[in-house]
């Protein structure tokens, strides 16, 4: 059970969505940690994780800022980040371009993907 060892940190302020991804990821064997606030997210990231699912629109600190901090910190910059949000689109646009340029591994629009799609993407990355 190699997968069981992998941990995913979900940074998401919408509780229903957060619950859904948490359930799905746990059900396929990930260790799942969640945080719903931008500032708290920074503290949690410092404790380490295998992958981060990052929402963009959040209170206190938005996803782009968090992504910048993750990627500028030598200790955390190797952690893969999938931006999982409901703004922008998956074809090239400002938001996706920004995220990718900041070092995101992928940019997924939540409404366009099922939880299975997200799991598949995570498995491709880690």
């Amino acid at each position: 059970m190699d997968l069981a060892k992998k941990s995913v940190l979900i940074i998401e302020d919408d509780q229903m969505i957060l619950e859904m991804y948490k359930d799905k990821l746990k059900s396929v064997g990930f260790r799942v940690f969640t945080v719903s606030d931008g500032k708290k997210a920074i503290q949690r990231i410092a404790q380490g994780t295998d992958l981060i699912l990052l929402d963009i629109l959040m209170p206190n600190l938005n996803g782009f800022e968090i992504l910048k901090k993750i990627k500028s910190n030598p200790k955390t910059k190797k952690i893969p980040v999938i931006v999982l949000t409901n703004i922008g689109s998956e074809s090239a646009d400002n938001d996706k371009s920004l995220a990718m340029s900041l070092g995101a591994s992928d940019y997924m629009v939540k409404a366009l993907n099922t939880p299975d799609d997200v799991v598949n993407r995570i498995n491709q990355i880690i």
Partner: protein
């Protein structure tokens, strides 16, 4: 031609006599001389020099003490001494300066029109200047006559008394005629020259505005008397409203027009006659004419008169009277000249009327331009600003007077906006200056004293016959308010669409997990219900996506990341992602690539969206058990081309044109079932064309449709 003795003077009578051999010889010599004199005299333009030359030549030939010329003045029937050449250099006239016909030797010669010779003036009763008696011997006066007209008298005197021979007299007859011809010729030439100059002065006045017209016409009337050697000229113009003739201009300021009787057209005056007949009238003997009534005769001291109509293009506009020819009668030549001037005056009047009308039009145009609710900027072919209206003065707080004549770049430089916006403005607009078609650009600028403004600038050109740019016209509109409204609308749609995605995410996520059996096995009915709920959710997702796409297309915000990629692979992916949907309607999709590896240069994700969208449509509008054939290859221009053919419901000829329009959904039995916003093909067309491709449709109602699109194979060279 013998001299006839009249006591103490001789008159040469015109009688022929045989010439001696010697005289023949002399004559031959003389004719040579005369030819030379004649030639040199005719070449002289200046009348004073002409007389000088005539006198000098005569003096040389005749070896005289004094030679003088007196010219006949028709005005007072007097002879006037014009020039004297005396050996002793005294330049005072031999006689009194002016003398009557018949007075003295010269006067007698003029009166008789014959040569008069006096061997010793001191003995003659004809000598009138007694003071000079001691200076003279013989005198011979030769009348200068040409074509029967007396020009003057040529006088030759010797210091001592002498006898003038008949052959001398004959020679002088010829010489005087030559001089007369030269003088007459010179006079005519000068008169003609003056007339030409006068005419060209009149005609030289061009481009007259209506305000100047009266002055110009007055100056023409003022110059008429000099031109026609007459006392004065009057111009009367017809007042169409009152049907009366009114004084318009006169060369004689003393003529008081306000006292004139009403010049109704009914009367038989010369003015009305000319106006009615449109023909000139010449009156040299006023007593014999009843056309000029006594009041006028007295008032204007009329003795002689010519009257010519002022002929406009269509009708007679008025009458010119030229009054009292000085020292002669009016001639038909005068009539011709006056008519030419009258035509000129008519042209001036009609021009002025035309200019008035043009002025009125111009003023109207100026008003329209000035009060237009858009900014209007016009540059001429030299790139100089020639129109800048009020709207712009208000928009930029910059007066027209400060910018007219400036170049485009200098105008931008004058604007009170941020420097980087100036650069942006120049970079955006400058390319349009050279493009002959009309272009529209939206530009946002930040004014230094205010906030941001959005300007819509449209640039068009007036081209000349050769297609070169003659004028460049900019229309400038402040669309800040429109932009704000549009932005607010877009923001709302954008925000609500994103907000819509959040609940959909949860619904779709849980439905998909349940459908996959994540929370236990499902009955076939449960699965059926979940599938239906899931596909409804998908439609909701697509709807939101379409809205966002439309917003981006409208704002030109879709970004393309073109690269070279293999297209057949992409087609297979798209077919794969729609396989389930096709199978649910038992539709078969068949892909038939013409080339194994087909590369195109485009945005891969956008292209995927294009293909998926077209396939999705083909499935939607096909009946169960339908067939969809996809082929890929290259067109005649080596562009990549994809055809997607179905045997579905098809689209009628009438509807084919609008399928690519926004919000179009063709009414057919399947479209209601198919759902959708009607935005799909609009978005697809935009995605294709923005990447430099084309999209086509071939369809027959009830038979099926083929959608084809092309994409560039390689990067465009631009």
């Amino acid at each position: 031609m013998p001299f006839i003795n009249h006591k103490n003077y001789f008159v040469l009578e015109n009688k022929t006599r045989p010439l001696s051999k010697m005289e023949h010889f002399d004559l031959a010599k003389q004719s040579n001389l005369l030819y030379r004199v004649s030639n040199s005299l005719l070449r002289i333009d200046d009348p004073e020099k002409l007389l000088q030359k005539a006198v000098d030549e005569t003096k040389n030939v005749m070896d005289a003490f004094t030679v003088s010329i007196a010219l006949y003045n028709q005005a007072n029937h007097m002879l006037r001494v014009e020039l004297i050449n005396r050996d002793d250099g005294e330049d005072k006239p031999l006689y009194t300066k002016e003398f009557a016909i018949g007075e003295g030797v010269a006067g007698l010669a003029a009166k008789l029109r014959k040569i008069v010779a006096v061997p010793d003036i001191r003995e003659s009763s004809l000598f009138i200047n007694k003071n000079r008696k001691n200076n003279f011997g013989g005198i011979i006066s030769v009348p200068m006559i040409i074509a029967g007209e007396l020009i003057g008298v040529l006088n030759i005197s010797s210091k001592e008394p002498r006898i003038f021979t008949e052959s001398e007299a004959e020679f002088l007859t010829v010489l005087s005629t030559i001089i007369a011809a030269a003088i007459k010729n010179n006079h005519l030439y000068r008169k003609l020259d003056n007339q030409v100059k006068g005419l060209s002065r009149l005609f030289g006045v061009t481009s007259v505005t209506s305000q100047q017209t009266k002055n110009t016409i007055s100056s023409i009337v003022n110059s008429l008397p000099a031109l026609l050697e007459s006392e004065k000229a009057h111009l009367l113009l017809l007042n169409n409203e009152t049907q009366t003739l009114e004084f318009y201009a006169s060369s004689a300021s003393s003529d008081k027009f306000e006292k004139l009787p009403d010049m109704k057209l009914k009367n038989k005056s010369v003015s009305c006659t000319v106006l009615k007949t449109e023909k000139p009238i010449l009156i040299n003997n006023i007593d014999k004419s009843d056309l000029i009534n006594k009041k006028f005769r007295k008032l204007f001291a009329i003795k002689k008169q010519i009257s010519v109509p002022v002929m406009g293009k269509n009708d007679c506009l008025g009458v010119i009277h030229i009054i009292n020819k000085i020292s002669a009668d009016f001639t038909t030549e005068d009539l011709k000249l006056a008519s030419i001037v009258a035509t000129r005056i008519a042209a001036k009047i009609e021009n002025a009327e035309l200019i008035d009308k043009l002025d009125e039009k111009n003023r109207l145009l100026d008003k329209i331009v000035s009060h237009a609710s858009d900014g209007i900027i016009v540059f001429d072919q030299d790139g100089k600003l020639i129109v800048y209206n009020k709207y712009l003065e208000n928009l930029f707080k910059l007066k027209a007077g400060k910018v007219l004549g400036l170049s485009f770049a200098k105008l931008i430089g004058m604007l009170d906006i941020e420097e980087k916006d100036k650069i942006q403005l120049i970079e955006t607009i400058k390319p349009l200056l050279a493009q002959k078609d009309t272009n529209v650009r939206d530009i946002h600028i930040k004014k230094n004293d205010e906030g941001v403004s959005w300007l819509r600038v449209s640039c068009s050109h007036i081209l000349d016959e050769d297609g070169n740019i003659e004028k460049t016209i900019f229309l400038v509109q402040d669309i800040s308010a429109d932009k704000e409204l549009l932005q607010a609308k877009n923001d709302f749609i954008s925000t609500s669409t994103h907000e819509l995605r959040t609940p959909i995410t949860t619904i779709k996520g849980y439905l998909s997990m349940m459908r996959n059996g994540d929370v236990g096995e499902l009955s076939s009915r449960q699965l059926d219900y979940l599938n239906k709920a899931y596909s409804a959710t998908e439609r909701l997702v697509n709807l939101a996506e379409d809205f966002l796409s439309i917003l981006k297309i409208g704002d030109n915000r879709i970004e393309f990341q073109p690269k070279s990629f293999e297209l057949n692979e992409l087609v297979r992916e798209a077919i794969g992602s729609l396989k389930m949907k096709a199978q649910s309607k038992k539709i078969l999709m068949k892909f038939n690539p013409q080339i194994d590896y087909l590369y195109c240069y485009a945005d891969r994700e956008k292209t995927s969206k294009i293909i998926e969208n077209l396939l999705d449509n083909a499935i939607k509008y096909s009946n169960e058990n339908g067939r969809i054939y996809i082929s890929s290859g290259k067109d005649l221009h080596q562009n990549t081309r994809i055809d997607i053919r179905d045997n579905g419901v098809g689209i009628s000829q009438k509807n084919q044109r609008q399928v690519f329009d926004k919000f179009t959904r063709i009414n057919n039995p399947l479209s209601i079932k198919a759902g959708g916003t009607g935005l799909g093909l609009f978005i697809v067309k935009n995605l294709v064309e923005r990447q430099g491709g084309h999209i086509f449709l071939k369809s027959r109602l009830g038979i099926g449709s083929t959608f084809s699109f092309t994409l560039p194979t390689t990067k465009r060279k631009d």
